[in-house]
Symmetry: C2
Subunit: 339 residues, 2 copies
């Protein structure tokens, strides 16, 4: 059996997460028991939700245990199987964690899913046709419920969720505006991802300034907002929401590290009769088949071409993850573990 | 025709509203035209929403014009009519404004409604069986949608909305907890209004302290919250919301005067997958008949006995209104205009 490099959570962050919270461990891959499958990971997905798991306190999910392999989505290839449902060579999606190999109980419902790579690249099952894509779908379709001609806005626009959001929103006939950091990301959002406009939040020192830029990009106001970041961006968007606007809250990166970031003017919720709803996509498994079908079609037809940011080797995972929390990634953040 | 004392909005508040924003004006009551009705007001309703109308900026409703009679709900008696639908002696509810008499076009839909005072006192049509009651009903039934055994919380618990909320929530089998200011109001909430417990926010210097008191009053957490005040109270309640909790936002008194009051920890919306929705009851006229029917029954059977705070004479309206904004009223704030 191959040697397996893993990244464990060694200690919990005090304030900002740092590289020394993680620890590289090399172990032997255990021999397979009946029903088990050995997966050789090709890609690991890095996602903001992992930061929440690193805390011990009350959060929206179970904390990541100390001294164990970090949780994370993976795609890879079955290289050994003692389960009739899986054979060597199968391409699979699972929650293999921050490691090069995983041993999975192939009979556990939802633990391992075979995927078709004839029209969709394997890595896309961690992004556009995976959890981030379904996240965008749920927030847009189930919470925001857009109408043709409305204006939709998403923050972290060039990330995996934002990219999928753009394709889904354009497919519904909405003006679709992104918020991203830097001219390169904003240009990419418009030229490659199909956004009608993209606002560079880094050009704006405060919410008032960003709000003015949003007014230009959204001349008819904002009807739906998909929230990935929180903080100043949320304040600015709130000031431009139309009456009866809907906000799907999926991420608040600005609040994960250290102290909570306040929302400046909550009375706008009343003034504009807004609906704001937080959600976690893994609690809505019933929508996955419908969402994945639409997302798979968008990818296969080229309507959704999401960019990837790929770190090389498991050792690079912690730095890539810390960069993701600071918005340094450009597109879906992956770690390549095997060719 | 009788002389008519009116309160006009003379100038707009800069920061906190003050008595000199208002001006007493005495005018003649105009002669009735065909279709018009002359109403002698018995009570004027004072409500927090009026503060929002005093501003000129973007708010959730049209600003109150300067130099005109302040908007407001009234109940009274028809004393003269040139409309076949109304006769002298009819008891009516309308939006007569801050004045002793009003001349109303009896044909305008919704302008004037005849009411039955055989089981429900006339003033109740401004409170429990009027706009505040329907407000409580809409927030509880349509936004929070409580389940038997859940815990419901309302701020400004002894006000007109809070009183109705308690009766409606108890009728649905929920633990019902109020938040009010001072021991007298809290005792009244439990002994007279049917709350299971009431937390005195004035005993708590900050949201952390108030949150601890809420934990005692709500040992199973909070599933539904009806927001009337904002500020520290909202922060404290948010910290005790259960997963999938719902918050109906009806008022943010703390934000009307002067500067916006921030919400400290918006990431809780995500962590607990909360739904927060602002509403204005006048935009949901379709629910009024159903709501008024339930509220009328609760009042007629004695299950809802809301307290009133009655100021005497139109001259007393500005001070009573400013007191309401500071929580000085105890129960539904009315102004008695005629016996």
């Amino acid at each position: 059996m191959p040697k397996n490099k893993q990244i464990h959570l060694d200690n919990r962050p005090v304030g900002e997460a740092v590289a020394s919270n993680f620890k590289l461990v090399v172990s032997d891959t255990p021999a397979l028991q009946d029903g088990e499958v050995l997966v050789r990971h090709q890609f690991l997905s890095l996602d903001p939700y992992m930061r929440g798991r690193m805390n011990d306190g009350k959060s929206y999910a179970q904390p990541q245990p100390l001294g164990q392999t970090m949780i994370g989505g993976t795609v890879g290839e079955v290289i050994d199987s003692r389960n009739v449902k899986f054979s060597a060579g199968d391409k699979v999606v699972g929650m293999g964690g921050w490691q090069e190999y995983s041993v999975v109980d192939g009979d556990q419902v939802g633990a391992l899913r075979k995927v078709d790579t004839s029209h969709v690249p394997l890595s896309a099952y961690l992004g556009a046709v995976g959890m981030p894509g379904v996240t965008a779908w749920y927030g847009l379709v189930k919470i925001i419920a857009p109408k043709v001609g409305e204006t939709m806005v998403v923050s972290a626009a060039t990330g995996a969720v934002g990219s999928a959001f753009a394709a889904l929103s354009k497919a519904r006939g909405c003006r679709t505006v992104g918020i991203a950091g830097g001219p390169e990301k904003c240009r990419y959002a418009v030229e490659e991802l199909g956004f009608d406009a993209c606002v560079d939040y880094k050009l704006h020192p405060d919410a008032v300034s960003l709000s003015k830029a949003l007014k230009e990009a959204c001349p008819a106001g904002i009807d739906g907002y998909f929230e990935n970041v929180g903080g100043m961006v949320l304040d600015a968007v709130l000031s431009r929401m139309n009456a009866f606007g809907r906000i799907a809250v999926c991420g608040m990166i600005a609040g994960y590290n250290g102290k909570p970031v306040p929302l400046t003017y909550p009375a706008l919720i009343l003034m504009n009769r807004l609906k704001i709803e937080g959600f976690i996509v893994s609690e809505h498994m019933e929508v996955w088949p419908e969402a994945l079908k639409e997302l798979g079609t968008l990818v296969a037809t080229g309507a959704l071409r999401a960019r990837e940011s790929v770190a090389q080797g498991i050792e690079a995972a912690p730095e890539a993850f810390l960069g993701l929390l600071k918005g340094k990634n450009f597109g879906k953040q992956l770690v390549k573990l095997h060719g």
